[in-house]
């Protein structure tokens, strides 16, 4: 396990190193002054510019500039947003939790419905039910999220008016922002309408979470189906059958447990896809998250915000990746002794 941990941490280190190099080089790729791109201080006067030159080592070689940049990132200074002149770290603190909240609830929905459906399809392999689930998976995988989100809004908010169409919480509730996670903030607040606020926040997250969850869910359906089919063909299942165990017993005790292990490994891999979908859904549902903030900052040519958003979203995806890897290694001892990563 120690070897495995070191290997993963090495990968994480390398990944973050690459990411920081990419992010640093962006300030050279973006149009405009490099120093302004790095610091985001558009209106700096002569004196401030001199300070910034020293801060970012702009008078030294590019390697020194990079180390200075890394130093600034680690001290939490991502520069100022070019459009709002607020610190990027402050904006990230406001917007990133909303994205994490949306992504995690979508992941939960995708797993909660996707994996059992995949298992059902595998158990009824080549029967009508399998075909129906596979067709559903194909359509769900192909549907463009922005269009699906619009249809959800049309059906559930406009026609049926079951769920609100945009935002995270009704403005009537005055919830003080502490962590940025709406649900945690509501629980921390001492508002007398806590229960109603919770219910309202829940109603707001349903539609975006469904829109984001659909594509990953269909991936999980297929993963779970393949994984279960593989397990059901293996020798220990045959042994269990020969022992005379009932089909339900075999599926529950041997099938599900063994095939779940294989799925955990792939969750991390498909999380990047989920974050992508979430970015688009945020724009449509007017969800105040990092994705919609990033897309707005492209229109505003806010290069510091783009850099900060890239670092934040990519790091978030990496951490979920690594987390899934660890979970998989904890569940599957065979993986820990592999000398080379896949």
């Amino acid at each position: 396990m120690l070897n495995f941990t070191l290997r993963r941490l090495n990968l994480l280190f390398f990944t973050l190193l690459m990411l920081s190099i990419v992010s640093f080089s962006l300030s050279y790729f973006f149009p405009g002054n490099v120093l302004v791109n790095l610091s985001g201080e558009v209106n700096a006067d002569q004196q401030r510019t001199e300070q910034l030159v020293v801060l970012y080592n702009m008078d030294k070689s590019i390697f020194h500039q990079y180390t200075a940049y890394i130093g600034q990132i680690f001290s939490g200074n991502f520069g100022l947003s070019m459009s709002s002149q607020m610190p990027i770290s402050y904006e990230l603190k406001t917007f990133l939790p909303a994205t994490i909240e949306l992504c995690l609830s979508a992941l939960f929905i995708a797993l909660f419905f996707g994996v059992p459906l995949g298992f059902i399809a595998a158990i009824f392999h080549n029967k009508p039910l399998d075909k129906i689930i596979l067709t559903f998976a194909m359509v769900g995988y192909s549907i463009p999220v922005f269009w699906f989100a619009l249809i959800l809004i049309l059906v559930f908010s406009i026609t049926l008016s079951w769920f609100p169409s945009s935002g995270q919480l009704n403005l009537l509730f005055e919830i003080e922002q502490v962590t940025g996670f709406k649900f945690i903030d509501i629980l921390l607040s001492d508002s007398q309408y806590q229960a109603q606020a919770l219910k309202d926040a829940f109603m707001h997250i349903v539609l975006p979470a469904i829109a984001v969850a659909t594509a990953p869910m269909t991936i999980f359906i297929r993963l779970a189906r393949t994984s279960m089919l593989d397990v059901l063909e293996s020798n220990y299942i045959k042994a269990a059958k020969a022992k005379g165990l009932s089909q339900a017993h075999i599926i529950y005790h041997h099938g599900i447990r063994n095939s779940l292990v294989g799925i955990v490994r792939l969750i991390g891999l498909h999380f990047a896809n989920l974050v992508t979908v979430a970015m688009i859904a945020e724009v449509i549902f007017n969800w105040q998250g990092a994705g919609s903030w990033l897309i707005e900052s492209i229109f505003a040519r806010d290069y510091t915000a783009i850099q900060g958003g890239l670092i934040a979203l990519a790091t978030f995806t990496f951490f979920i990746n690594i987390l899934a890897d660890f979970l998989y290694a904890a569940l599957n001892p065979l993986e820990r002794h592999k000398q080379h990563g896949a």
Partner: protein
């Protein structure tokens, strides 16, 4: 098994032909392939067969519903948008933008990714290891995020979006080509040309490529469905095709305001995207299925 026709030359079809023989026996896949060819036809000849010009405004016919509606007009089969432009013509023309360009993008990415993948498969040691780690990093960044960053560098516009999506699709082809070549190199038949004195490049081109092309093509169909969605998504976000162009994603974005009074302006482009992506995915899925059947034999 005793051979009955000893005078007839025995035929060993190439892997791609074998794949086709299995593929054409799957009804769903062959229907999807027919639709795929239909889309290819539209994207090549689309601009010649449209009933109306794509930017022609007919101010007397604003927001005409599709012909099956009571208020519809049969000369505007799928209705018109808020500027009186014919939806059918725009959708047909959009095929070449959304579907046709995704084809070009994937072909480009396949060529570049295949070359890099082959080079990395031949090389060993630090170079290959560095490339591997680099690919891991690129593959774990959300593809659309990366495309958005590239568009931010290059500036919005359809051409830049295509570059961005091509760049983003390259790593998966590197990955697939590299792994497939590595797998083939372990097999026995590769040893024979090496013993004959063929160079590594020659072995790669004459012996290995014909045997991995099926895997690469399958990856290409998957990449194409992702590319269609990405082009449409960036168009929808307003970073891709400019407004008068009938790219399906930007058509959808334009129709957002009309969503309630003229729903056909938004559900038709959406259905077009959905249809195209499903067809592409079904072709890919059919190919993958055929490959699996062949392996099981």
């Amino acid at each position: 098994m005793a051979r009955e026709n000893i005078y007839q030359e025995e035929e060993f079809p190439s892997p791609i032909k074998q794949l086709w023989y299995t593929f054409k026996n799957t009804p769903v896949a062959i229907i999807a392939f027919g639709c795929y060819l239909f889309l290819v036809f539209f994207s090549v000849f689309g601009s010649f067969i449209t009933p109306h010009d794509i930017v022609e405004n007919n101010l007397d016919k604003l927001l005409v519903p599709p012909a099956w509606n009571d208020d519809g007009d049969v000369s505007y089969l799928l209705g018109t948008d808020d500027l009186g432009r014919d939806m059918l013509s725009r959708l047909i023309h959009g095929t070449s933008l959304t579907f046709g360009l995704s084809f070009v993008v994937v072909f480009f990415a396949l060529a570049i990714g295949g070359i890099i993948g082959s080079i990395s498969a031949i090389n060993r040691g630090i170079k290959a290891s560095f490339l591997n780690h680099f690919l891991d990093v690129i593959l774990s960044i959300p593809s659309l995020l990366l495309a958005i960053i590239i568009v931010a560098i290059l500036g919005p516009g359809l051409g830049n979006v295509l570059w961005a999506i091509a760049l983003v699709s390259i790593p998966q082809f590197v990955h697939v080509t590299r792994n497939a070549i590595k797998e083939e190199q372990k097999k026995g038949y590769v040893l024979i040309p090496i013993l004959d004195g063929a160079s590594e490049t020659r072995v790669l081109i004459t012996s290995i490529y014909p045997n991995i092309i099926d895997k690469v093509i399958i990856q290409a169909t998957l990449a194409q469905s992702a590319a269609i969605l990405d082009i449409a998504a960036l168009g929808f976000l307003g970073l891709g095709a400019p407004i008068p162009m009938p790219e399906w994603g930007s058509m959808l974005a334009n129709s957002l305001d009309l969503f309630y009074i003229a729903p056909w302006t938004s559900y038709l482009p959406g259905l077009a995207i959905l249809f195209t992506v499903i067809v592409t995915n079904l072709v890919g899925e059919g190919l993958r299925h055929s490959l699996k059947i062949q392996k099981d034999r």
